[in-house]
């Protein structure tokens, strides 16, 4: 009898090795995840992807055994399960870090797998989705110059995804160091409240480096990193919601920027008018209201997906649909800081404009702005320079842009929001309640005419007369008279006008850039 193995024998051997990678045979690892109340990497892939659509690549790898510290470690798939799958029918390149493999640390082989995955996303024009949980570089591989000196090309590769394919990161648990660095290159980052963490280094390294003691959630939980710092776009309650958010984000975008954004069937009537819009926005500029409600009314029902809802809340950035077409709404939120444009709001809006422009989503800018932030606190944030990023992105964008002034269109903030002809908007509208001018009328009178009205017989009456006279020439109607805007519209018809405008305009405004090598962002 021959000792030679048959193909069937070899196949059985292969299947045994492959089965060893699966959760069914990794009972201890699964038990640990259960104790932590968390899904395994493969369960996350099952939950995110269409049934049976996952095809793994690199599952059979072994960790780098040339390294003396790694000779005896167990590292199925080197801690990174990756391959191709589908989300709602669309092909994505997907990776899930396995926290049960050496704490989700990124080994030398896992790094090569990640680089390969990014190459596949870029070459095939398919979205990149990474579910991350781990502590960054694997110590065993990292403390070896033979591996570390070459450095990883992963960031070089990630930069290539920018503006070409959607790049999504879900921080599913601990995400200090490596995961945070990858997330910095992503278009959308989602965290889980009270579970996920992000930051340059975790508590142990912080204590070793600076002596400061701090717990992981306080240091890098969603309250700090999503709401306060805006390095994550969304914080949700649990893993399922996290993966739903990934799927929902992608649903507004094409697979790559050469394709059109996915238009969906819709049932909400194009000509739906809502009386609430007439009462919601008070013509009295002192009163605040909820701009998010305005967006909810105008957009297709239940289509609004807000990005960075907890960060820079004076600026709203939302994906939504109008007549089934994905669009981006950017809007001042009077309820928060009066809707002023501070540095955080400028940067939030600027990133959103770039995102929409890259993937062909028309922009709707809803303007009710008292101006750019002023005063020493604002100056200390570098607003004089950093607000420039919003002007820059507005000038760079070529997707259709419709601006609508609901109430205040004041100062440089009005320009920054794309009002009037500031950035060659596809159309510029105002509601009848709009007041468009360089600054608040009362402020202007107090600065320019104080001496004059104080010397009048009745200073108060004189001041009020000046305010009334100026108000006459800051109205929406006056703006339309000199063609600074295209029209003054009935608020109730905003939805229909937007849909019709986007149905009839070209998919891009002309790019009037001179033949330069590249432009340079102010920051």
């Amino acid at each position: 009898m021959s000792d030679e193995k048959t193909t069937r024998d070899l196949l059985s051997q292969l299947e045994a090795v492959r089965a060893g990678l699966m959760d069914e045979q990794r009972t201890e690892a699964v038990k640990k995840r259960r104790a932590q109340g968390a899904m395994t990497a493969r369960e996350r892939l099952d939950c995110l992807l269409d049934d049976g659509s996952f095809r793994e690549a690199g599952g059979l790898v072994q960790p780098d055994r040339s390294n003396v510290l790694s000779r005896k470690i167990e590292a199925p798939a080197d801690g990174a399960v990756m391959g191709v799958g589908r989300i709602e029918g669309r092909v994505v390149q997907v990776l899930a870090q396995d926290y049960t493999v050496l704490g989700g640390s990124i080994g030398a082989v896992a790094d090569r797998k990640m680089v390969r995955l990014i190459d596949c996303a870029v070459d095939s024009g398919q979205p990149l989705v990474m579910m991350l949980e781990g502590g960054g570089h694997r110590i065993q591989d990292g403390m070896n110059a033979a591996h570390f000196a070459a450095a990883s090309p992963v960031f070089n590769k990630l930069a290539l995804t920018s503006g070409w394919v959607p790049n999504v990161v879900a921080i599913m648990g601990q995400g200090f160091a490596g995961p945070t660095a990858y997330a910095a290159m992503a278009d959308f980052v989602v965290m889980i409240k009270e579970t996920s963490t992000m930051g340059m280094a975790g508590p142990a390294l912080v204590k070793a480096g600076t002596g400061e003691e701090i717990d992981a959630q306080t240091l890098g939980g969603s309250r700090r990193q999503a709401d306060q710092n805006g390095i994550a776009d969304l914080a949700v309650d649990d893993e399922q919601q996290c993966l739903v958010a990934v799927s929902r984000f992608l649903s507004y975008l094409p697979s790559n920027s050469a394709e059109g954004a996915p238009v969906q069937p819709f049932s909400d009537p194009v000509d739906r008018e809502d009386e609430e819009l007439l009462d919601l926005v008070s013509a009295n500029g002192r009163e605040v209201y909820d701009m998010r409600r305005v967006i909810d009314i105008i957009a297709d029902r239940d289509s609004v997906f807000e990005l960075k809802p907890g960060y820079a809340r004076n600026m709203l950035t939302c994906f939504a649909r109008l007549g089934g077409r994905p669009v981006g709404f950017m809007a001042n939120q009077p309820k928060r800081k009066g809707g002023v444009l501070d540095v955080a709001a400028c940067e939030k809006a600027a990133h959103f404009v770039a995102l929409c422009d890259a993937f062909g989503l028309p922009l709707v800018s809803l303007i009710d702005i008292p101006g750019l932030a002023i005063g020493p606190a604002a100056e200390d944030t570098g607003i004089g320079r950093r607000s420039g990023r919003l002007f820059y992105e507005m000038a760079t964008a070529t997707v259709p842009l419709v601006s609508i002034v609901l109430r205040k269109g004041y100062g440089g903030g009005y320009y920054a929001m794309g009002g009037g002809r500031a950035f060659n908007a596809t159309a510029a509208f105002a509601w009848p309640s709009a007041e468009i001018c360089a600054m608040s009328i009362q402020g202007a009178v107090d600065i320019a005419y104080r001496k004059e009205y104080e010397s009048a017989q009745d200073p108060q009456q004189s001041r009020q007369a000046m305010i009334d006279a100026i108000r006459e020439q800051t109205s929406a109607l006056h703006a339309a008279e000199d063609f600074g805007i295209d029209d003054v519209i009935d608020p109730r018809r905003t939805r229909q006008i937007l849909i019709e405008t986007f149905n009839t305009c070209a998919p891009r405004r002309p790019d009037r850039s001179p033949p330069r090598r590249r432009s340079i962002s102010p920051i």
Binding site: G285, R286, E287, K337, G338, V340, Q442
Partner: protein, 73 residues
Amino acid sequence: MVTLDVVSEVTGTVWKIEAQVGQELSPDDTVLVIESMKMEIPIVAPQAGIVREILVQEADMIHEGAPVARLEV
């Protein structure tokens, strides 16, 4: 007792104090209103809690980031 300071998002003048000591607040309930940039801007509870102290008075000038009330959370 775990307390949380409610801070003003803007520099301005305290226009109206709406919440009272002992009152239970839900997230986003108005604590007080600041007049800033010719607007009445509500300062709201960042999370649910009971008002233990109001730290300012009407007509006070306050700076962005200044604590205006203390909640027990």
